[in-house]
Symmetry: D3
Subunit: 322 residues, 6 copies
């Protein structure tokens, strides 16, 4: 199948793709006619597509997040490529494709990512901390299999959140070895818990966040995770005011570092400082890596990347990989 990232003006394309958007619109003519304004996607990117002749049956057939087989022409419109659809049909089971073949995913299998997270939780030596972490994982274990880490900032794809946690755990392990004054249990717990309530903060399907939830808007994932820690402690009969509990909550509450970024308190234990910068390092570098992975082959600069102040990143010429 031709990857969307490689579509070039004038190509005739035939293949299976995901219908990411499917808006029925009217031409601005008199009398106006209906047409479909699609976006089709695969793991390499996405492209707008127009279907000018729309029958009544078509209107009952095509909806977002459906797989289709398409035949069309790549044309330039306002300096950007789009696809003019000539033929289209719904994909059937016999075609043998599944939705996840067409959405961007973490490069490691979700099941393996969740396994790593659970194994790390089990390795926490302090029993109370271990129990709280496991209580919180249990709340979202199923969603960890596919939730992205954010709506559009970074790791915005299938299982992106679990992938973010796993990469941070690698980095956290290295840092804790390099600086033995850091408490390994707290590093592990902080990394696993810091974004653990994100799957309840956002509404997501196939790695794409469509909205924030009611609780996400009124509480935010930071306060929700703090709630879960208290719930866990109460459920297990721990003292909710013990140093251990307070520090666990503090790790979550402070991990955005500043009030204007959503943290009601600032990092004041060593592991909280480490957590914030590990999170930053992973999120920013992943955003850069993702932007490079999805840019068209013939460009030198990525699209603007939100988490690095909307800067574009330059890709060195291939021969110059010193």
């Amino acid at each position: 199948m031709t990857l969307i990232r490689t579509f070039t003006d004038g190509d005739e394309i035939t293949g299976f793709y995901l219908l990411k958007k499917a808006d029925l619109k009217q031409t601005n003519a008199n009398p106006s006619k209906e047409y479909f304004d699609f976006v089709i996607a695969d793991t390499s990117g996405e492209i707008p597509a127009k279907m000018w002749e729309v029958s009544s049956a078509d209107k009952e057939t095509y909806f977002p997040m459906m797989l289709v087989k398409v035949n069309g022409l790549v044309q330039m419109y306002r300096e950007k490529p789009q696809l003019k659809i000539m033929r289209i049909r719904k994909a059937t089971e016999e075609d043998g494709y599944s939705l996840t073949d067409f959405v961007r995913s973490a490069p490691i299998q979700p099941i393996d990512l969740v396994h790593i997270i659970k194994k790390t939780a089990s390795s926490i030596q302090d029993g109370d901390i271990q129990s709280i972490v496991q209580f919180c994982i249990a709340k979202v274990e199923e969603k960890l299999m596919h939730y992205p880490a954010a709506k559009g900032m970074h790791h915005a794809y299938y299982a992106g959140l679990a992938y973010h946690i796993c990469r941070m755990l690698e980095l956290g392990e290295f840092i804790a070895k390099q600086r033995p004054f850091l408490n390994q249990d707290l590093i592990k717990a902080g990394i696993i818990l810091h974004d653990i309530a994100k799957p309840e903060e956002m509404i997501s399907e196939l790695g794409v966040v469509t909205d924030y939830s009611f609780r996400g808007k009124l509480l935010g994932h930071i306060s929700m995770a703090a709630n879960w820690i208290i719930e866990a402690a109460v459920a297990m009969g721990m003292d909710t005011t013990s140093e251990k509990l307070v520090i666990l909550q503090h790790l979550v509450l402070s991990h955005h570092n500043l009030g204007e970024w959503g943290s009601p308190v600032q990092p004041q234990v060593p592991e909280a400082v480490a957590l914030h910068y590990i999170d930053q390092l992973d999120a920013k570098l992943q955003a850069v890596e993702d932007a490079l992975d999805t840019m068209p082959d013939n460009e030198s600069w990525t699209s603007p990347i939100r988490v690095i102040e909307n800067k574009s990143i330059y890709r060195m010429k291939r021969e110059n990989t010193y």
Copy 2:
């Protein structure tokens, strides 16, 4: 007894006062000698005091937050009055004074303030909300009798927090009547809960905050109050994710309005917007009123007031009270 606010250069003073500070210092001479650097206070204000001759017995006698009888001379030092102590002794039971006679207090008896708060809680019609509010009040009822509302920003005196809550309740009742679309239960609950964890955030004695607590620093009173709401819900078997619970937490979490002022989320229900501005109005006006109450009689401008961007407030000439 002469009120400290009226002390004038050259006055000889005799009376009972509170020793607010009592630092033993050494003169910067050779050989250096020890002297007491006191601050004495009454409800009208405070003044530095020096005691130049200090015996060994004195060093074992005078400590902060003790009542003393003092005889001394008011002198100017660097354009500010201070008291040169000539005679001093500890107050005894027979003198008939109690500490609370000398600390600034809310103008209403603490017991009455707490009574108003509890009565208002009882008037909340939704049973769940009422129970949660009562659970939280119970956590700090004893401390509500004397805690200030803040370290120095506003209502920084004996029972200042309870007084702040009660004035806000008056204002909240008026606003809820003026604008019937507001939910009265939520207004009452929001006002009572918004600062309810402050007594655990700060360490205070006789209305003076000396420091923030461990939990105060690592969690902050906003997150602590959010915790209590969850604890209450779990204890009473409520659903911690119900709309009711979420909104109660939201009222507390958002009442500082902006992230840089400590709120992890911004007001997004009508009562949260009302709560923030009722809190602002009461805190700012009280800070102004307190500054006017404690300024020396012969001044036209108060000291700079922190909560209104360190501005001083002008007091109109008496005859001009149009």
Copy 3:
């Protein structure tokens, strides 16, 4: 008549509405044709409307701010409803409607609002202050009958400014009773004068601000009101540098509180602090109330509200009015 707020996809509508906008546009076709891009409105909201067949006579007939009788179909366009006009005619006198039946208004009659303001002015006990306030009211009395309080921030409707002043006067009366150290004359004068020059700052018709005036742009309503106070004082032979005059100007100049919000000085008399927060409280709560009043019945979140940092407000489920 069917309220616009209740229009639903597929409805056929017949009724009288206000033509709020009437742009003659050309279709983006070849040859292009002219069509009317209308916005029709009533007190419950507004909706775009398209009229595809436009005769020469039509072009001479339909203009903004005119009443029309309309027959049309509600259709969805880009996920928003719009009206496809099938028949339309100008409303006549015999139809019995007046423009003010179709614009959002303060819930109290303008004449009553202005009466309240004037009566309050008369109750100011200091003769000089009373005269200055009356001088300023006289400048805009006619416009107070219909001007909104702002272009779009809050109270943006017919007589919104007078309504804003009256609600503030209620609140100001309560606050002045709750805190007797505040000077009632200054509270009343400050509330009436703070936005008194807004009708000269903006150009408005039927409660809708279309632009700022020349003086509004170069001076702003705050400086204009300050000018009027001086003019009043000169006209009445008062000393323009007296404490009274200075404080009256100060109330107006400082009521936006901060330089970046347009106040050249910050509040430095108690009544100026009160005025700013009374203004805030009324403006924010009114903006929330207005947004709730005009949101479609089947939504849970209002549109973003500018004066509360573009946050949307959540409306509780009806059954949950605890």
Copy 4:
């Protein structure tokens, strides 16, 4: 007379100087003794001075802003030079000195500066503008003879305000010639009026501002100057809402450019833009020049200069004046 700027550790000094401060203090010993903590000054700078033996007569003799003859020793104290006074007496008329010999002054005679300003006013061709400018000058003509331009930011010396205006007029004349689209009358009027109310905003003696006035605090010099323009217009029977009047007020109101710098509106006529940047250029360069003029001869860096973000300025080595 030895200039204070050249005082060196170990020098014995005899000469006439100004007593800029004269605080009677007590040594921190037991028993404490009184001593005088002076600051003495001349046009080249100032230096702290201590007088350890103080008689009762001395206490009645020495006060700030008095001329004295001093004999003393320059000593280093905390890495800074100070003068240990051995002998001191009040200067008498026979000594032949006047206070203005010892305060920093504009390099041009005040009377000449005021003459330039008045002559420029007379050269304004539009009669109304000329009259308004002259009305405002008349309000402060006497104070223009000696007032500084600011409390400490720039031109903080005798007749500094008039000097600032005159240098700006030179620059304004050049700019108006370089860019003929600028209106010369408005440039002249804007420069003369922009700070014209500063003498009423501040309380100053001998070029040193000691405080802001009541009106300075509650209105600020910008609003005060705007008031005067209105008063002038009323007095002369002009229309206070004419374009001319509005633009004159706008020039004054907008000359600080941004709200956070005190301007309620931003420059929106060409001459207002020019005025702001002419003001900036003159104020910043004068602050730099003044700092260089008063720095000790053996330093390479000036003290931090407030108006250029507290940066110090480097003085090139003398031989390197390329």
Copy 5:
């Protein structure tokens, strides 16, 4: 030829203009048709133009930055004028026009501007500074003939950069005479060097910047100019750490004044302070003058001007040029 600035609704126009943009677009109809979306320009402004009938030959004929002869009708579209093209042809040599007749230019011939800059460089008395300045001019001399000073902020036209430098040199000469403590060589060198690398930072044709260069994005013109100074010094065998070299670099590095405006260090020699404010004054006033020059004759307010915080400038009524 009719100036574009004077085009009025209904005019039929015939004349030569520059094709500034030439986008081939498709109508949003079914079947869609191709049409040309042009922008045509002359020195007085620009206007959109539509050409609805497009032949295959046309598509090979019309490209941006080409001169054409046009016959068309001025029509209003969304309240703005646009040209409906009826006839069009490419201009030929015989028509006798050149591209520079149609682009906005500095009001002085480029060759004269560059001559002024080079003559000023020769007048620098310090040999080393003179050589460095000449080395840097030589790098961009050809581009100085036509480069604008910025992408859109100010002096955004043919030879705008050279014009900006020359006006600043005039102002710098005046300031250096008014304040003799400033070093004339440094003022001249600073003005010539401050933006000298802009032609390498941007990609420009005929006075219009289309993009930033690779080096422009990764280094910025400030660091590039600093590099050139070092290169010059090395090439001429000077000590790169001498005071002279350091100050030259400092002038360039600091001329944006603040870090957030791109300067890694802040002005700390007198000439650097002067340079920044001379640059500001010239850039802002030129932006105002340009906006007034290109506004339609019947408007009172210019378009928003980016360099003065997007404010519009008011143009006084003609008769009122006091």
Copy 6:
């Protein structure tokens, strides 16, 4: 020897320490007497010390950065411990101590740190980049042996800069392995070069920065390092505008990330993003580690730490090292 960190009120101490400060001061008495105001230090911390009896010989004997043997008493002064010196003498060679025994140092020998840096430089595979890095190291190799990384922010001790670079190289190596899309040569070069000019920016002795250099103030270390890269390129005959050179400069110029933090451009290649966050992570965590290392044993909170917004860090109770 008793570590200063363990000094307790009432201890009599005898041992060798470093005289970090030695100010001769005068008592504020009459007649005043001279005394020495010392600060003595060892690797565990520092403490003020007073020597009340000072002979003429003493004044010629004791100077900062000298080793002394001291006998004294620990006393509390204003709630902080200080040492009252009873006996003191200069340390002699026979005592066998060297200055570096008493200053805080990186935990690895300076010679080993510099060896690691040079070895890493040699491992850079691109010959041009390797040469440039080696050219820059050679400029400061001797100073790398002892310079701190900053004046007080982080790594402010003997060889702190080299230590900072080495820890970053470890982290950089890990990150480059974790994310193979990063270019290892650029990561290594960026880390070594980013602060390479700091030893020329600051003036430092024994790990303590006393001031910034002339070039440090006027250029800053970022621009100085950019200069060195150009000098290296010129010296080696490379093209100063090649992609390689531009990216090397970009890494240095952008490593502070934002303009307000001193970077004239923002990171726009992947390795620049990595470099900034590696730098942050190492600097912040080292600052936390250093603060914990030097806090008194009986405290729970460190002093405020500048690089983490002046927050203090909480040290968990020992038994609670989960």
